[in-house]
């Protein structure tokens, strides 16, 4: 067997065979690349949990009558504040939009103990480093008469649930 240093080896006289080889090569490559792509995407889908182990994002907080008008009830475990004004209800997040600390109630609204962000009663930023107002979560009256909050769905601040 002699060392072959020519750029293309013996088969090039048979052009059909080469083109068939090339096509098969492409097919193989495409198959492998496609599978690899799908696996990569699948793995990301796999790693992203569809159900988390904490409390569910959608939960019931009780009956409307549990929150008399003027209530500003902070449900720390749920991470929300239920606000009721007359017949209007809202669920405002108490997670600071700056770096995720839990804000506390203050005279004027909410105040964050970590970096001094301040929010008004509707969650709008009034001071400190917070970049955005506190989000409002979807709040609905469930068919069984209880108030349901869905932390997966943010709504426009100021849109209340009217009883």
């Amino acid at each position: 067997m002699a060392v072959n240093l020519k750029r293309s080896s013996g088969e090039d006289s048979d052009g059909g065979k080469t083109s068939r080889r090339r096509m098969l090569g492409w097919l193989t490559g495409a198959g492998l690349a496609g599978s690899a792509g799908l696996s990569a995407v699948s793995n990301f889908v796999f790693i992203k949990p569809r159900a988390t182990y904490g409390q569910p994002q959608r939960f019931s907080v009780g009956k409307p009558e549990d929150f008399p008008s003027g209530t500003r009830a902070i449900l720390a475990a749920r991470g929300i504040c239920i606000v009721r004004e007359g017949t209007k209800l809202a669920a405002i997040s108490i997670t600071c939009t700056h770096l995720g600390c839990t804000v506390g109630a203050a005279d004027t609204g909410f105040a964050c103990p970590c970096h001094g962000s301040r929010f008004d009663q509707d969650g709008n930023v009034t001071g400190g480093p917070a970049p955005r107002p506190l989000p409002w979560f979807q709040i609905t009256l469930a068919p069984n008469g209880e108030i349901e909050v869905d932390k997966d769905i943010e709504i426009v601040p100021g849109s209340y649930l009217s009883l």
């Binding site: 080889r21 098969l24 198959g31 799908l38 609905t140 068919p143």
Partner: protein, 604 residues
């Protein structure tokens, strides 16, 4: 090669595609979309509609940590309308969970309110099933490996086909209600309460232990039977014990179907510990044995002396005595026939046997049941009235009526109940044994019984002539050898060695040396060789037996052996009468001369 490679990669791509595709379009997503669509139609306000429009299918879950380990119930992912009263007439899975006063639900301002809110209780606490699953097959527990399929709704494929339909019905869920509602008078758990009554009324407690309720030791401990076994197994184990475990000695109780159902529900509710108990309560039950629980379940019968016999009869018939014993045409097939009890035993014996069966028969397997003394007396009085029918005249008829149950159709001792008797009934086909005993002794055994064994004294029912007739029948039918002249044996009338501690010590040394192989070091008949010997070596600690035979008979058995058994003639192996005297003294020394024998103390 390259072609195959291309095909291979293509295959991988296809499989990847299938796998990828499978991750989308779950049934639960379709369910949720159906629900959203229909709810939108039912929605009254625009805000409601908008809220529904914003919702997308996702896994719903209720995380409950109030009941034992943390439960994650994802049932509402499919059963999404569970708490939406507008869907009460829809089809599953998008259907409202029914409201019912039985569940404690109540109406307020014309609207139903739930007593057990799903957000607080979850689903599997009542229903069982697999809360984490998202696939009907797995979540409903159809998978044979899931220990708790949806109670009363779902049966598994490997369950017995004839049981499966009986195991459906939501009343089985009472077993889970009873985890919190432990009050025996709670109306919602009627089936469990009924089952508990049957557990006591049918004397299940005599053999089985349930922590805080009973302490039987013959059968398996049922304290957490509900956690270990599924309905199918419980049903089978109650209705036909041998179908599940061939070696089971549990009798068939022939309970009515609704009683079996109640018993199954009750057993299913025994899960070791329930949610309502606290550690303190459990500890108290441990200290008191749970006596008050038992009293609350089954009320003792008040015995009224003039009706004593009648009440006794009712007790005997109602409380499952015939699950083991035979009485008239009821026959449990495990224990002796009671039809002649009045002619065989005296009331003292029967009463003592009731109080503690081992106090009259060392190796009886009958449990000591928890009746009151008055109840025992009434049952004794009833049994004393049972005299059976007049004994027939012919030997064959006598044998079939009286002897067959233990000694068997072929006279070989393998009668229908023989395996539950200890000592085992005598094999009457062994000519060696039958012909080495004098007729007088055999008649004596028949008419006066053999103490400490299940052979009762038939004397009141069988005359000497009848005894001879039945022995003659046995001789010709089973033994099949004519009686021979008995050889004269040189046997001392009384023990030549006086009872003394030295003699006992010598006897014990001899016993360990010569006898322990079969009779065991303790003399209890359970030596290492006993497994292969039939009939079994005599239990020499059976005081009723040992105390009823005289020294002469012990000498005869030891010196000349017992023909037809494994007992050899020790005279051939060099034992002198003095040696045997020491042995007899040793055997006597391990059997105290009290009336009741070794268990006598137990009933005092």
């Amino acid at each position: 090669m390259r072609f195959a490679l291309a095909i291979g990669t293509f295959l991988i791509l296809v499989v990847h595609g299938i796998v990828f595709y499978n991750q989308f379009g779950h049934p639960w997503e379709r369910n949720q979309n159906t629900y959203f669509d229909q709810a939108k139609v039912l929605a009254k306000t625009d805000a409601e509609k908008a809220a529904l429009a914003a919702r997308k299918p996702r896994i719903e879950q209720i995380v409950v940590s109030n009941f034992g380990e943390t439960r994650v119930d994802r049932c509402t992912t499919c059963h999404i309308a569970t708490d939406d009263p507008r869907f009460s007439s829809h089809a599953e899975p998008v259907k409202t969970h029914p409201y019912s006063p039985t569940l404690g639900d109540f109406q307020k301002d014309g609207k139903w309110e739930r007593r057990h809110k799903f957000s607080e209780f979850g689903c599997t606490v009542c229903h069982d099933g697999q809360g984490r699953g998202l696939d009907a097959e797995y979540s409903h527990g159809k998978d044979e490996y899931w220990p708790d399929p949806l109670l009363g709704f779902v049966t598994q494929d490997n369950w017995r086909k004839d049981h499966a339909p009986k195991l459906k019905g939501k009343e089985y869920m009472q077993a889970n209600c009873a985890q919190c509602h432990t009050d025996t008078a709670f109306p919602g758990t009627a089936l469990v309460t009924r089952g508990r009554q049957i557990f006591f009324a049918s004397n299940c407690y005599g053999c089985h232990r349930i922590e805080g309720l009973s302490d039987g030791t013959i059968g398996p401990d049922l304290s957490d039977v509900g956690r270990k076994w599924k309905l199918d197994y419980l049903w089978g184990r109650i209705t036909d014990p041998k179908s599940i475990l061939a070696t089971s000695i549990m009798p068939k109780f022939n309970l009515k179907e609704e009683d079996v159902k109640a018993l199954v529900a009750f057993l299913k509710s025994r899960k070791g510990r329930n949610f309502a108990e606290t550690e303190i309560q459990r500890f108290k039950v441990k200290l008191t044995g749970g006596a008050e629980l038992v009293q609350a379940t089954i009320k003792p019968v008040k015995i009224n002396p003039p009706e004593m016999v009648k009440q006794g009869e009712k007790l005997v018939l109602d409380r499952a005595c015939t699950a083991c014993h035979k009485l008239g045409d009821r026959d449990g097939g495990i224990a002796p026939d009671l039809s002649f009890e009045g002619s065989l035993r005296d009331s003292e014996w029967v009463y003592a046997h009731f109080k503690n069966p081992k106090s009259t028969m060392s190796d009886s397997i009958m449990p000591a049941f928890r009746f009151t003394d008055d109840e025992f007396k009434a049952m004794t009085a009833y049994l004393m009235t049972l005299r059976g029918q007049a004994t027939p005249a012919s030997g064959e008829a006598i044998y079939k009526n009286l002897c067959l149950r233990c000694h068997g159709e072929k006279g070989d001792g393998h009668g229908p109940i023989a395996e539950h008797l200890d000592p085992y009934p005598r094999d009457l086909t062994k000519a060696g044994f039958m012909n080495s005993k004098s007729e007088a002794r055999l008649v004596n055994s028949v008419r006066n019984g053999v103490n400490g064994t299940s052979m009762p004294a038939w004397g009141k029912a069988v005359t000497e002539e009848q005894a001879k007739a039945v022995l003659g029948y046995i001789q010709t039918t089973f033994t099949k050898e004519p009686r021979r002249e008995l050889k004269a044996k040189a046997i001392p009338e009384t023990n030549p060695v006086a009872m003394s501690p030295e003699s006992v010590t010598r006897g014990e040394a001899l016993f360990v040396n010569r006898c322990a192989g079969c009779h065991g070091r303790k003399g209890d008949g359970k030596g290492p060789n006993s497994l292969d010997i039939q009939p079994k070596p005599r239990n020499l600690r059976n005081s009723f037996f040992v105390n009823s035979v005289d020294d002469k008979r012990l000498f005869e058995s030891i010196q000349y052996g017992v023909q037809g058994t494994a007992m050899p003639p020790w005279i051939d192996y060099g034992l002198t009468n003095n040696d045997v005297g020491d042995l007899v003294n040793f055997i006597r020394s391990i059997n105290p001369k009290t009336k009741g024998g070794q268990h006598a103390a137990a009933i005092q």
